[in-house]
Point group: D2
Chain length 472, copies 4
């Protein structure tokens, strides 16, 4: 699946979202052309609803619907250049395509933002549910399979960048399976909560009340025909919070991707080398250092997050609109699609970095022997925790401090901690009380992984099941 | 209810949250002293749980519980100064208060963040559910009563700061009743979703698995005893998203307050004067202009929002923690309580600006005669919309443009629009087809409020009912 | 000068910067095509410098320069698709256009970011100095002429949205003349401080030191030939602070524009009506309210500011790059041109909203009679300040409080303040001591404008002179 | 020098800046008490200036000055509680301390923000110049000495977290010496550009013009007596850009600290271990893992940056103030001192982490043998770059690609790259043309550090000289 089917016009473009990081599948939904189509679709639904209650004829509504289907962005922009109003321009273009008998019913009783806000809800919902969530589900599924594959492979757990206690690699992935899975559900919920409106210029259904007896029923009928519910109260615009929530769900999911990307690129450090991105035959790592193999895809995702996360500040500022609205959220909202495209582009990048869909196997290289080697570096030190726990459980009143002193000394002196501990008379007294089956973890620290494999497996399988309903 | 019972030590304080905008009721929950208490409470629950499954004796657990109750921040800080670790310092202080027999079971099998993250979830949840939501409900109830009181009072609706079409003042308040009500529910949901953890240093229940047969059951038992559920998968820390969601719910609710405050202060402009803050006998408006009466409380709330909204960027950055955690979210998370205090302080400020709780009536002054006067300014122009709708409905194929041309001309020439429209031969032809009962709105534009009163009332009453369960 | 000469491909575009708000003059500098040209220009300068010191022949350098001129983005992207490295792709395309003898000297001793960072400094500097600053100077000149035209027109000064004391409209504009003027100088300084680098993959001039005896001299020669100076110390990348400073200068100038736009649209409120945007014959204000005339250009500018200001957070995050660099600033930096385009587009919008360049006169409509009418509303109240000052100066020990009490009472009772003050026996005693020439301001409050006209004029003329060097 | 001399009242405090991260030396400048003192100082300077031009008597001015010195925050807050205006409260408290003859001259002709903005400029400037810059100079000096000490110690340079080419540790520190040094100069410049104002309620010197013949001269005299210059044009407030610039200089310097902290903590990773924070005898690294030694100070600094960097968004929003000002920047500005305290606290933390002032030597532990060991890991691979450069220089038309293929193959096959290259017939042909003295770097890659030592030394010494003028 290529993401760049059309050669971009590089000499006209500034935003990399429009050439370098574009997503083909989102163009029919989120491009400017698509926006015009969505607005025309709402105009058509309005005419249909007017016919439904007898304000206009069925044939007028059908004429309008046909005209709506033919509208192009180019036409609308040309008309807007003349009259300086985008939605009236759209209405004029639609009107130009219908008979005089149908003309009065184009855009009748609508204010611009009845059309714009409803179209925005529709297109954002479509983008999320038809493309973004299915793409997220693919990434989630890839992570699930990797978690399951490496469910037993012991890896050193790291806190503060320091060796801590052992985990398994599958377990470390299950942390992301769980976080990403929950974000997918949050995104779905937020998309389903987007609402439209048809309440007129100041939200009181003034124009509509001139034409119909139950304005709210008309609004609901129109919106339900499009798959939306109305905002509980509107002014000229829908309430801003549902879009704010949707963007939060996206941006917080982006944070999960960025965290994952950070982890993966750190594990690819030369000294750690537990992971590496695939590197093709012809690929160049550096224009001057022929030997370089860099975690460029993980870096790219973190960079995309850095670029788009702060846009939440704009979204929060756009909650404020004076009285029955000012227009200072109009331009800024036009940039919301770019955020979705950037996010989806990062989801796809991570998926193809982690997983080879054609061969249905991991594309990321996991070096389990490097994991073992790294664990080995601290195998002796990490017994300090289980020893302290077992000593405490054996009744040592001050085990943490006793163990801490020995381990600090042996780290400084580069001696074996466990040997030193065993030969400490006071500690030895309590060691004698430790059951054999517990002690084995001190001799083989790679056994000290708690319930990591079991839990990772259960979590991965649960999310695998949950994802079934998102498969395209 | 005073918010400043203790005289602050002004020469020691930098953050206005600690003196100027403090909230007394949040001190027992969110102060640094309270944080120590919450952590000690988790330590006590741990000991109780260890006793529950027989790792330690009941009496040891009780000893520990008593010691936990006595711990003070001062003691813990003193110990931390010595050993440079805050949670081990807490454990040491607790240990110092128990017998040697109980000592091994203090903090046993816990990693610091088992305690810290669980305590954070507890205190944030308590702050939100015991103070913030009840405070929000008071504000919501005040807005509801104001909406109901002014449900029929006609006000000019404004878009782009320009007169648009009429609404009622009660309707304009119902917009905030609905938005704020929904945010209250979102905050409640987010608070209920906060989770704790007891999964050890890297999330695999290593230490716990040395002591108990079912580590996850132990974790769940411990957390449920505190009123929390466990994070689905943890590393050293709980998943960051629940706190991210909570902060989003707070910050987006803050946006609603800021929007409301903006509206109110704009309505207080000298030229508009539809609203004014109460001004006491002794109050000074300006140190040099004795006549000034400023909307200082509304300005204050918008300023508080500007200060704290960007902290969401920190919250989003804190989603990233390397591997099984790094500590770069530790300090930054210590500032989350300040955000809650600032928000709650603004909620209280708005409530007391709008509502006099003692006399149970509005404190804000609403000048309904100014509203009428302002409406009158544009009474003629605003008939353009209903006329265009009625002409269209009467079959005029191009009513918007026809009306637009007349209105633009009459605005320029400062003539009556409606008279000019009536005397336009082509328009007159369609006017003849307009039913009388519709025409009355053109003669009395203040009737052109659609369903504003009915809808405002329904919305206000629905939220009044919803708020019942939050009354303290 | 049209800003949209080419019909955009609406079905391919997501970012409004690429169609709706584009700036033609910035395309040859900041488009993706232009970026490739700038990088090729640096490659050509490298070859020239290598020839200069005798590493390669003059003819090889010339061959390379010619090949650099022919490079297109399309070619480079095609090669990048193959080898997955953007700058090596560029080098390969250049190489393909030269003889085998010249091939070794293409990109020799360069690391990618020697090229990229230097090209970035060049194109940002060119964009700022060739387009953005001249555009800003046009706006500044328009504001200067408006300030001068209305230097004496009295307007009510407003604080907290409340009438305060009189100013002149020209003075209120001079506030923006001064602020914007100083931002222009700050932008210029920041652009001149951008630096390039040619220090190799980790900043120690490793490759270059293999070829030349004085690597820093070589770097300086190369950069000076392009009009830049080197970063004092580089790693793989230049120091991030100069670009951070440039973006700060732009974003803080954007804040000045946003403040100006906010002021202007508030002055256009129906109740105030001191200002209005030009409204053309065919222009539509609302798709449903034919009478609407909205401050859409001012709203647009504030909205653009809301969209792009938060990108500073990205810029600050991009200061962090691990060790000798990680790549997480690569993608995010590709979005810096969009910020400049958005800013410049807003500068142009404000200029054409305020000023008609063809007729060389103000396009914004300033209603000086509305200003007088608004001033009249509070003419009585605003004498409170000068009266308090004059009473104090006449020795009244408590004038502010005495005046405050009278004015609060007369506001409540809707009586004349000045009459009440004059008839207050205690005050009257001090009034007698006030010189006649001071008293006239109390009788004619529009005289109470301090030194507004004089100061506004001086400031406007000073900046007019300063702007001379920026005229294109 | 202790930073916590007074035991904080933990049960009253929410913001960690007021207890955990406070800075004693900033309390006399930036605490709330100090703010009152600074405002009183401006009031005293006003009285002195009034006396200077003969509006009041010398003795009145002296009375006022004495009263100003005695004012406390507690008094002012008590009065503010009564009259709800902070600056009039201050004026009242000062008035209470003087005779009736002096009373009229307290605060005469001043608007609140003449006092507040001037006091803010003064205290921010004092904080920066008396504490923050000297503290930064100490950190800079520590880094300089470390750079000089390790100027020759070879370290692997890292890009993308991957081994790149060698540098020296001193060179890597010189990158921060240069960046931090330049930020110090930027902060100094921004602090020197802060300005005050005495232009009255709307900036036109209305009140002052009633009393003096040259209002601007009076303003300048007053401000110069305090060490400030006036804002070119003011409204009720000074222009916001100078404070915006100061905060940018601080926040961008914070970015340099955060980058440094990130680097240091990554170098402390167990697998890298080139650096470690000092760890005291009694220090605890983890409450459960007795062996842990974490980079907590570096983590702390990055976390502080994450908390406070986004406050720039507030600062940018505060540029917008309607007309002659609204009050929505009042509360938010009260939080600027907290940002300075947080920054300074991080500067101090880094200084004491890096440097032992008592023993005048590095406190940070630098493991030069680990650096060598890590370099050794990639000693073979890193010869690819110099080999490619030398081959190109020897005329190989396609050296990068030829070398890339060999190195990729040998990495995959885990063979020696250099051996493989030497045995490649085509490459060997060009190797023969490489001069011996160049070749030695291929045999000893640790020689391939370009001009790292020389440049690091020069840069360090230059900044050492520059810092001389900041030593306290």
């Amino acid at each position: 699946m290529s993401e760049k089917s059309v050669t971009p016009n590089y000499s006209e473009l500034f935003s990399p979202t429009d050439f370098r990081y574009t997503v083909d599948e989102l163009k029919p939904i989120l491009s400017e052309e698509a926006f015009v189509k969505y607005k025309a679709k709402v105009e058509a639904a309005l005419a249909a609803q007017l016919a439904e209650i007898g304000v206009c004829s069925e044939s007028a509504a059908k004429e309008i619907a046909r005209s709506c289907e033919r509208v192009t962005a180019k036409q609308v922009y040309a008309e807007e250049a003349r009259i300086k109003h985008d939605v009236r321009a759209l209405a004029n273009v639609i009107r130009d395509g219908v008979s005089d008998a149908a003309k009065p019913y184009v855009h009748l009783a609508a204010t611009s933002y009845d059309i714009v806000d409803t179209a925005n809800a529709l297109r954002l919902k479509d983008a999320v549910k038809r493309v973004v969530i299915p793409d997220l589900a693919k990434l989630e599924n890839a992570l699930i399979l990797i978690a399951l594959k490496y469910v037993d492979n012991v890896q050193m757990g790291r806190t503060h960048g320091q060796h801590a206690e052992p985990i398994t690699f599958g377990f470390s992935i299950s942390w992301y399976v769980s976080r990403l899975g929950q974000r997918i559900l949050a995104i779905e919920k937020a998309a389903d909560s987007l609402s439209g409106k048809f309440a007129g210029a100041v939200g009181v259904y003034g124009p509509l009340s001139l034409l119909v007896s139950n304005a709210e029923k008309f609004e609901k009928g129109l919106l339900v025909s499009l798959g939306l519910m109305p905002s509980e109260v509107s002014t000229q615009i829908v309430q801003p919070e549902p879009i704010t929530d949707l963007m939060h769900s996206i941006v917080s999911a982006f944070g999960v991707l960025a965290n994952f990307a950070r982890d993966m690129r750190q594990l690819q450090r030369t000294e750690i080398s537990e992971i590496s991105e695939e590197f093709s035959e012809s690929q160049v790592g550096s224009s001057t250092m022929p030997q370089k193999r860099n975690p460029i895809n993980f870096e790219n995702v973190e960079s995309m997050w850095k670029k788009f996360m702060p846009q939440m500040v704009t979204v929060y500022m756009d909650q404020i609109s004076e009285h029955q609205r000012d227009l200072t959220n109009s331009l800024s909202q036009r940039y919301l699609p770019e955020l979705l495209v950037a996010f989806d582009s990062s989801v796809r990048r991570l998926t193809r970095t982690m997983w080879d869909a054609k061969r249905n196997e991991a594309r990321i290289f996991v070096d389990t022997s490097a994991m073992k080697k790294n664990l080995e570096m601290s195998a002796d030190d990490i017994t300090a925790e289980p020893l302290y726990i077992l000593l405490s459980n054996a009744g040592h009143p001050n085990a943490h401090e006793a163990v801490r002193k020995i381990v600090q000394r042996t780290i400084s002196e580069k001696k074996s901690f466990l040997e030193a501990a065993k030969s400490d008379p006071e500690i030895a007294r309590y060691i004698a009380k430790i059951p054999k089956n517990k002690w084995k973890m001190l001799d083989s620290p790679s056994l000290y992984v708690g319930i990591a494999p079991k839990k990772a497996k259960r979590v991965a399988l649960a999310w695998q099941k949950e994802m079934l309903r998102f498969s395209r």
